[in-house]
């Protein structure tokens, strides 16, 4: 288990967190390599299905990250995402997922550092949580 | 008393009042004008009433306290009607004798009669006294018959008949043309034709028009307006109502200085009574004409007698004049057309209406009609209020009516028109007094002050005195008046103190020219008159002050000294005894001398020397 490396799928909004991640890169910030970004135009378009799908495909955690409240490029998409994730978190335990495996954050375009920090923080927590076993228990 | 509601009401009431008055009834009239009042009218009245009731004569005798009779020098004055016995200088102690002799027995007490200082004769009747004889009292005449607190007295002498005539038989235009024909000119100072003023005001644009009475008489020594308001306020009111009717005004003000408490009181009573009688207020005598009058009490600033300053003061602002390029008849009080006339002008109005413009115009000179009241004061025997037709000569007023100069002194000059009037010398004494002639000789009619000066008056000092007054009373707004008068006074003070220098007279003339031409209001415009007229007629005196450092009249203390003429002095010792500084030495029956070191020039020795041995050097 010691060399267990969790996989994080991050749905990042095109305008803020994706840019922040880019900034983190161009700023040469170092952070764990466990994250894979899937760019979406807005967190508001993240269908809960995507999250479930990612977890089922073997991701250990899903990060949804967008613009700060009030900063949404599309006015209020992030508010819609917030509502959706709240509901989703209530549903997750029924599927057997730990609700900690889904995380919603706001990371602005200039917050490269924060993006790096968020990932850095997530990885040890996930390590402590252990691998996502639900997929294996499920009959697909 | 219910309101009089028609012409008939008034006439009935008047006839009734007249009928009640028995012309043969004993009437004692005591003057309670300010002059007589100061001498003790109140005590005399109390003593008289006590004496009358003590003798049980209350039903038989009527005691009337009236307004000013004019002969203030002789106050308190008592006139006993119907005989018309005139007792001057009555004291409470004289009352028992007067009651016992004159009232009970009807006999004249010779010793108490007026003694003419010229002819040395005792004179019994008021109208025979030279002081009254030379007068023509159309405004003041009724003062002696009226108790100012009783409107009935005024109605009894046909008061308000002029108003009735106007209200019921004349149109406003007819009133104005009557006033125009009469030639009445403003008695305040300006001498503007009253009729034209009214007409302009009537024609001026505006919904509200105001009528005002200027009773802010501020000239030192002048008190004719005061005496009129105190003695016959109803005549002023009647004049104002007629004026208001002619102009089309419904609101009137009487601006009276608060230093005239009796005038304020009497005009207040007069307004109240007139309102009660329906002669003032809404629907006067049922004619449909409304007019109310309010009293506004002035704080005593001399400048508030100026029309624009007065109106500003009425508005509640600081009483300072403004330029009159837009006349007050167009834009005056609260920017509405306003007519302001002084007390005497208003009092003339009922007379003109009653007696006719033609009759009025027959009095006076070509361009100055009617009579004028002067307050004759100063170094003259008969101080008092004098009403003469326009055009009477100064000599008539000062010598015939005024009785000349007391103490055998020589006449030197007369100053007319208040502090900003000019001084007229002896050789112009035959000058007929009217607006033009006074202006020609460098003086003004003013409101009618007349100050007589004798040989002991220094003309430079006189000019200095008046300018000192004017400096304080100038409103201080405009440069020529504020700075100019100050500098005129400064130069005159220097001259009086012996610091005059060559060129001062010319500088005075030059500066006086600017002050009179450029000042904003008439105060500044006339302020240099005392300087200019004294320079004009008494230049030698100025030169004596400046070049010889002498004050020929012995007034300017730095510029003269007293000396006793050894030849004239009979050693009577009077001066020795009276000198407060013990500066006079000498034995009885031998000529005395004055120690110049000790002398303070108080002039007591000069005044008291019977043989004129004290001389001014």
């Amino acid at each position: 288990m010691e060399d267990y490396e969790p996989t994080i799928i991050a749905f990042t909004c095109n305008w803020c967190t994706y840019t922040a991640a880019d900034l983190a890169g161009t700023s040469r910030l170092s952070y764990p390599p466990n994250v894979r970004l899937i760019r979406v135009m807005c967190t508001g378009m993240v269908d809960p299905k995507y999250v479930i799908k990612a977890l089922l495909e073997g991701a250990d955690a899903v990060l949804i990250s967008g613009c700060h409240i009030g900063d949404c490029h599309y006015m209020n998409g992030n508010l819609k995402a917030r509502r959706r994730v709240k509901l989703l978190k209530e549903l997750l335990p029924r599927f057997g997922f730990d609700e900690q495996r889904v995380k919603l954050t706001w990371i602005g375009a200039s917050d490269g550092i924060q993006f790096a920090e968020t990932i850095t923080e997530m990885v040890p927590k996930l390590k402590a949580l252990g691998p996502n076993e639900v997929r294996n228990q499920m009959v697909l | 008393m219910s309101k009089l509601q028609s012409q008939k009401d008034y006439e009935d009431f008047r006839d009734q009042v007249k009928k009640e008055r028995d012309p043969e009834r004993l009437l004692v009239s005591i003057c309670a004008g300010s002059g007589c009042g100061a001498y003790g009218t109140e005590e005399v009245r109390e003593a008289l009433e006590q004496e009358v009731s003590k003798n049980g004569l209350k039903q038989k005798v009527e005691v009337k306290v009236t307004g000013c009779h004019g002969f203030c020098e002789q106050g308190p004055i008592m006139v006993i009607h119907p005989q018309g016995i005139f007792y001057p200088k009555v004291k409470p102690a004289d009352i028992p004798e007067i009651v016992a002799e004159t009232i009970v027995k009807g006999e004249v007490i010779k010793g108490k009669l007026y003694k003419d200082p010229v002819s040395k004769k005792r004179i019994q009747k008021e109208e025979d006294i030279p002081f009254y004889k030379g007068q023509h009292r159309i405004v003041f005449g009724n003062n002696g018959m009226i108790d100012p607190a009783k409107i009935d007295d005024y109605i009894a002498v046909d008061g308000y008949s002029a108003l009735v005539k106007v209200l019921f038989s004349m149109s406003p235009e007819e009133v104005i043309s009557a006033i125009k024909e009469s030639g009445l000119r403003g008695r305040g100072a300006g001498g503007f034709p009253t009729g034209i003023k009214w007409e302009t005001c009537r024609k001026a644009h505006g919904d509200i028009r105001y009528v005002m009475c200027n009773a802010d008489e501020g000239d030192p020594g002048a008190y004719m307006d005061r005496s009129l308001l105190e003695g016959n306020p109803q005549s002023v009111l009647e004049g104002m109502i007629i004026g208001a009717y002619a102009i089309g005004s419904h609101d009137g003000f009487i601006y009276v200085r608060n230093e005239y408490p009796l005038a304020v009181k009497n005009i207040g009573i007069a307004i109240k009574q007139a309102e009660e009688y329906g002669l003032l207020g809404k629907n006067i005598l049922g004619s449909g004409f409304d007019f109310t009058v309010k009293i506004s009490r002035g704080g005593g600033a001399f400048i508030c007698g100026e029309s624009t300053a007065l109106m500003r003061s009425l508005e509640g602002q600081v009483g300072r004049p403004r330029a009159k390029y837009v006349h007050t008849v167009d834009k005056g009080y609260r920017d509405s057309p306003s007519t302001l006339n002084n007390v005497e002008t208003w009092a003339n109005v009922p007379v003109i209406i009653n007696k006719g413009a033609e009759w009025y115009a027959s009095l006076g000179t070509e361009r100055s009609k009617g009579t004028k009241v002067f307050s004759l004061v100063g170094k003259v025997r008969n101080t008092g209020l004098v009403e003469v037709p326009m055009g009477a000569s100064l000599r008539t007023i000062i010598f015939d009516i005024g009785g000349g100069i007391p103490k055998k002194r020589k006449f030197k000059a007369v100053q007319t028109g208040g502090p900003s009037g000019g001084c007229i010398p002896e050789d112009l004494l035959d000058l007929p007094v009217d607006y033009q002639r006074l202006a020609e000789v460098g003086s003004i009619m003013g409101s009618g002050g007349m100050i007589v000066m004798d040989q002991d008056t220094c003309m430079v000092d006189v000019a200095r005195y008046f300018l000192d007054f004017l400096q304080e009373e100038s409103c201080g707004q405009c440069v020529p008046c504020r700075e100019g008068i100050k500098r005129l006074l400064e130069i005159l003070t220097d001259i009086c103190a012996g610091n005059g220098k060559e060129g001062d007279i010319e500088l005075l003339e030059e500066l006086a020219g600017t002050v009179s031409k450029l000042s904003l209001c008439a105060l500044g415009g006339t302020a240099p008159n005392p300087v200019l007229s004294t320079i004009r007629y008494f230049r030698k005196e100025y030169e004596a002050h400046i070049y010889d450092k002498k004050c020929p009249s012995g007034v300017c203390k730095e510029l003269f000294y007293y000396e006793i003429d050894e030849k004239k002095c009979n050693g009577c010792h009077v001066c020795f005894l009276r000198c407060p500084q013990e500066a006079i030495s000498g034995e009885k029956k031998k000529p005395h001398t004055i120690d110049q070191e000790k002398c303070i020039k108080c002039s007591i020795c000069y005044e008291s020397c019977k043989v004129d041995a004290v001389a001014i050097k």
């Binding site: 996989t7 799928i9 305008w15 840019t19 900034l23 161009t26 390599p33 466990n34 899937i38 979406v40 135009m41 807005c42 508001g44 378009m45 993240v46 299905k49 995507y50 799908k53 990612a54 495909e57 991701a59 009030g70 490029h73 599309y74 819609k80 995402a81 959706r84 602005g108 375009a109 200039s110 550092i113 | 600033a301 400048i303 600081v318 300072r320 403004r322 330029a323 390029y325 837009v326 400096q471 304080e472 009373e473 100038s474 201080g476 707004q477 405009c478 440069v479 020529p480 504020r482 700075e483 100019g484 100050k486 500098r487 400064e490 500088l507 020219g513 600017t514 450029l518 000042s519 904003l520």
Partner: protein, 600 residues
């Protein structure tokens, strides 16, 4: 219209106008003193007296308030008039013999001395102050008190006035300089400082923003304008001959439809006050670079003469020595790590200006970390200055103090630093210090950025789309950035960037059309159940319900492709193109396959 004679010439004038007004239009000069355009004429000084002949007699009237009428004959400079005016002036001179204004007035009238006794006064009692306060300000905090020669301008009971609004209008109209609002007002007057002159100069409530402002028109400071605050005053209107002043102007929000926006909001100069070691605000002769820029500028408060403050705080003394401190707030881990880029060059320029304007004997010390003279001709300029005798000390100054320890430091500012080339500590006494302050992002950059969808970099400046490929673009299409809002830069750089941004927006404009992003939503009519959930969700009202077909339809011109509809659509009919479910799932699959193939 009325016709009358003015100095022998027939003139026409509007009825109701005054002689003075008419004379002015006919270029006839009449002297005035108590007259003021904004005040009702009062006719107090009488200086404007003229002669009027009305057909019967000649009168002297004040032209300022005498209304004209047909047929009158006016003489404005007859012998009498001049004689009287001279007397007035002579009287005023006697009153205020030592007042410069009155002396000047007397000189105009050819009066050398007055024949009257001299007084010692400063007030000619023209009443302008009182009338201004009453008529225009509606306050009447001062008035003419007393009478005759005692008349004076005073507050009621000589108590400092509570009613006074400290506007200073009285002071501004006083010809003799007698009025001091400090003697009148209960409250201390607060001077209005010019922003343009960085507080080195005062300005009025109405002022020109700066000498080359575009448009070159005056503005009114609503917070200070007495009219805006109280509804009174409005004096400026009387003076504006063009009638251009509209005091009732209201704030309005103007909506302009544009195709593109260029943000060129500039920068803030860092405030040195918190850096206590440099004593800015404590020592009067420590200036910021911008303050010095104004001091050396020909349109500045000193007219381009370089002067420092004397003991009264007035700019009067030329400095004998100046220290220029580079990199204050820049290249400093405690403040901004970045280099502000322009300081080196303007510091060199200042040194040159000081040498040239104050004199070559003036000592100039530059305390620098590195001198970065990177541009065209810059290095040459640096060399030239070294030759001019400017001292360059490598080492950032640590502190400025006025505590002298040697006699030559007495009364001077001492710059304490280290010459790192010599490895020696230094104390340099100078007369003035210039702090080359860092350029920083504007304090409101965050708010502005939000409005335009432009993000800030870590340093606070606006972030360009790409440092190399999109230096003018931002994350929002059609919004460009130019100048120091993007990062510290000098004028040539800012101009180039601005030209580029302008070109970019022109390119958009010339095209005449915009490319709609392909990532927009599409609702599959075959799947849509017509529940209309998406319609309520769409922030751009881009979805309409087609009642005939019973499906929702996306308006492609309005849709921005946020995907709110797609995220919620219960049937999955709404999808964002390029981000549809199938594509996302495929992406996921790819990612996961890669992970399982190579580990993480």
């Amino acid at each position: 219209m009325v016709t009358f004679t003015l100095n022998g010439r027939q003139v026409e004038a509007e009825e109701g106008s005054t002689i003075l007004e008419v004379a002015e239009t006919y270029n006839v000069k009449i002297p005035t003193l108590c007259n003021h355009k904004a005040l009702e004429p009062a006719g107090l000084c009488r200086l404007c007296t003229v002669e009027v002949y009305d057909g019967r007699r000649t009168r002297f009237v004040t032209s300022c308030n005498y209304p004209v009428w047909g047929g009158m004959e006016v003489k404005t400079d007859s012998e009498d008039v001049i004689r009287h005016r001279k007397m007035i002036v002579e009287l005023l001179l006697a009153r205020c013999p030592n007042n410069e204004f009155v002396k000047g007035l007397a000189a105009e009238f050819g009066i050398e001395a007055t024949r009257f006794k001299l007084e010692e006064d400063d007030c000619v009692l023209c009443g302008l102050c009182v009338r201004m306060c009453a008529e225009r300000m509606g306050v009447s905090a001062i008035s003419m008190t007393g009478r005759g020669t005692d008349i004076r301008v005073e507050t009621p009971f000589q108590i400092k006035s509570d009613a006074c609004q400290v506007c200073g209008a009285c002071e501004s109209v006083c010809p003799t300089g007698r009025i001091d609002v400090r003697e009148i007002a209960k409250y201390e007057p607060r001077p209005l400082l010019s922003d343009w002159e960085v507080g080195l100069q005062e300005r009025g409530a109405a002022y020109m923003p700066f000498p080359q402002a575009v448009p070159l028109a005056a503005v009114i400071d609503g917070e200070a304008c007495a009219h805006v605050r109280t509804g009174n005053c409005g004096v400026c209107r009387e003076f504006c001959e063009a009638g251009a002043i509209d005091l009732d102007m209201k704030e309005e929000i103007i909506e302009v439809e544009v195709g593109s926006i260029i943000l060129a909001t500039g920068y803030d100069l860092m405030d040195p006050s918190p850096m206590k070691q440099y004593g800015y605000g404590v020592y009067p002769n420590v200036f910021t670079s911008l303050e010095f820029e104004r001091l050396s500028n020909a349109t500045g408060p000193t007219g381009g003469v370089i002067l420092i403050r004397d003991e009264n705080g007035e700019l009067t003394v030329p400095p004998k020595s100046v220290a220029i401190l580079h990199c204050i707030g820049s290249r400093d881990v405690n403040h901004h790590e970045y280099c502000s880029r322009v300081c080196c060059m303007y510091a060199l320029k200042y040194g040159h200006l000081i040498k040239e304007k104050v004199g070559h004997e003036t000592k100039v010390y530059n305390f620098y970390i590195d001198l970065r003279c990177f541009g065209k001709g810059y290095e040459e300029f640096y060399r030239r200055l070294q030759e001019e005798g400017i001292t360059f000390i490598r080492g950032k100054a640590a502190e400025i103090t006025d505590q002298a320890i040697t006699p030559e430091e007495e009364g001077k500012l001492v710059v304490i630093g280290e010459d790192t080339l010599l490895g020696k500590r230094l104390r340099v006494p100078v007369d003035a210090v210039i702090l080359c302050m860092a350029m920083e992002a504007r304090s409101d950059a965050l708010d502005v950025g939000r409005i335009f969808g432009v993000s800030q970099g870590a340093d606070g400046f606006f972030l360009e789309e790409h440092p190399k490929l999109g230096p003018l673009n931002t994350a929002t299409d059609g919004v460009f950035i130019a100048g120091a809002c993007q990062g510290p830069k000098d004028i040539p750089d800012a101009v180039s960037q601005a030209s580029g941004a302008a070109a970019k927006s022109l390119a958009l404009a010339t095209l005449g059309k915009v490319l709609v992003p392909s990532t927009i939503s599409w609702i599959d009519p075959n799947i849509c159940a017509g529940c209309q959930t998406c319609i309520g969700l769409c922030p751009y009202t881009a979805i309409e319900f087609d009642a005939r077909r019973g499906v929702s339809v996306v308006n492609e011109a309005l849709c921005k492709g946020c995907g709110s509809c797609a995220g919620f659509c219960p049937s999955g009919a709404a999808q964002v193109r390029h981000f549809n479910q199938k594509q996302i799932f495929a992406e996921l699959d790819g990612v996961m396959d890669a992970i399982s193939a190579v580990g993480i």
